[in-house]
Symmetry: C2
Subunit: 316 residues, 2 copies
């Protein structure tokens, strides 16, 4: 199938075409770039919801409940779940996916895990590309769910229009362990499993952390909500919180999306330039020769890069 034909079927909202398009994108098939190029003009309407948090916080159950609520409003929802591919975690996370399968027969819901394959930087790229596919397929809301509290999650969640961090009670250590940037990117916090002990202390610990942050007057102050995803308690309030944030940031959304697009363009440019530099067809701009000099300690890596760049800019 040609990328253009597949794109037409995705835009016509054919579920099998959507599934196939995500596979093309996640596998980095040769036609993926053309497919995304054909879909991109039709995207830009969906609202992207990023959800992250440590394993065991109940994210998938919470997403399941959010979907049910949104479906009740007649909105179409796609979920991209970013799973580590380590054989050591695959099993548990597949279990999470299964929990969401009650929506399996509903054409207004599409749930997809990305393989990610441990490629550095590849996860964020696949997630952003999948978001374009779902967007072009007319989904109103897209959830990007990641596991963890590291810099790679920050990177992925930055793809979203709203970022939600989910914690479980007793997660004091998790708050402590959060990397630079994770607390700072959250637009909403949810302490899930609110029926467990320690929920008040965890909320207080997040609130205390937030009070250390400087924020200009009129800035959004991330609320700290509580939920019990297993029973649905607190989920309507979370949906309302998301709508409040969406309304509060409506004016700034264009700016947020533009800086996101700038990141995508920079990443693509880096990848394409490196591919060009390392391609053997471009003799005279020889990556391996320069690397030899670095290995002999005649050139340091920065100077080597400057030499390669000068070669690139002099040619053609």
């Amino acid at each position: 199938m040609t990328p253009q034909a597949l794109a037409a079927q995705v835009i016509a909202r054919d579920p099998r075409a959507i599934a196939r398009a995500i596979t093309w994108v996640d596998d980095g098939r040769p036609g993926a770039a053309a497919l995304l190029g054909a879909l991109y003009p039709r995207a830009g309407h969906a609202y992207l919801v990023g959800i992250t948090g440590p394993p065991g916080a109940g994210k998938s159950t919470l997403v399941d409940q959010l979907i049910a609520g949104w479906r009740g409003d007649g909105r179409r929802v796609a979920v991209v779940a970013v799973d580590p591919t380590s054989p050591f975690t695959g099993g548990a996370l597949l279990g999470d996916r299964v929990r969401m399968q009650r929506h399996a027969g509903d054409a207004g819901v599409f749930i997809r895990s990305l393989a990610t394959r441990g490629h550095l930087g590849g996860v964020g790229q696949s997630a952003a590309d999948a978001a374009v596919v779902f967007d072009a397929a007319g989904f109103d809301l897209e959830v990007i769910e990641t596991v963890g509290v590291g810099q790679d999650e920050v990177e992925i969640v930055r793809t979203a229009d709203v970022s939600i961090v989910v914690l479980a009670p007793g997660a004091g250590d998790d708050v402590q362990a959060m990397k630079a940037g994770v607390m700072e990117i959250a637009d909403l916090f949810v302490v899930n499993k609110a029926d467990h002990e320690g929920v008040d202390r965890t909320i207080a610990s997040i609130e205390a952390s937030l009070s250390l942050q400087d924020s200009p007057p009129g800035a959004w102050r991330p609320p700290v909500l509580r939920s019990t995803a297993t029973t649905g308690l607190g989920v309507p309030e979370l949906r309302t919180g998301i709508e409040h944030f969406r309304a509060h940031t409506a004016d700034a959304l264009g700016e947020r999306r533009r800086s996101r697009l700038a990141i995508r363009v920079r990443e693509a440019l880096s990848r394409q330039l490196l591919a060009w530099v390392e391609s053997s067809r471009n003799a005279g701009c020889d990556f391996e020769t320069v690397l030899d000099a670095v290995e002999r300690r005649e050139l340091d890596p920065r100077a080597a890069a400057a030499r390669l760049l000068a070669q690139v800019l002099q040619r053609r």
Copy 2:
């Protein structure tokens, strides 16, 4: 002070010059690139030990004990501790640093935390640059300590000659939560706090994970050691384990370092090219104009990057 003068003092092993050089590098001062260029030819002799693991596993205490042992052998040791700068974690981690201060009066030991400032990619860069400074200053061993089990830690630990993952008993969840690549990069595992309950189960869980991995005949099989860092129990065995790994991989070390250098050169090239493309001096290769077209959905990010690259390659 000129970068050349500072480099000369670093090579002469002046502790205050070393401290200043790390600050230049970590802050990205204008002279940092020239400083590193001057130090780079003198580096390449130190053995780099990467240590990572979840918060609370006892990494700093273990490093403290390793230092004591290495000092007993007369070896000079430098430690680079990569701390998240989030205000939410700074306190606890500074506490860890204080624990290592018993070596403060020993000129053969240098311990330094990096600020990292939440810059994406910046952490690994600063750690690699700090390693060059210490290496040129004649340290025999360099420890790079990171907190966490995410992809950013994988990235940093890939800077090392040997990678050690430290876990505490009952860390079944941590093993589960480990991201793609983290289990795979470990050359040695240490289950610390071996006096706590659950140590055998944690070791068994790691061993079970390892048995799932394919490894060619003759390949290094990561041992799973146990230690009680507070008393020093198991620390000599860890040092021996590191030496065994070093001997086992002596032939492959050159290759490992070369691929590391290739990563450094690629990263530097990406940064320099992006700076060039975005520089306002290079009119005709206008990042903002192309970004406008992406925002209007006339171009997708890949096509935009391809257009910018074509502009770059056609000029000069």
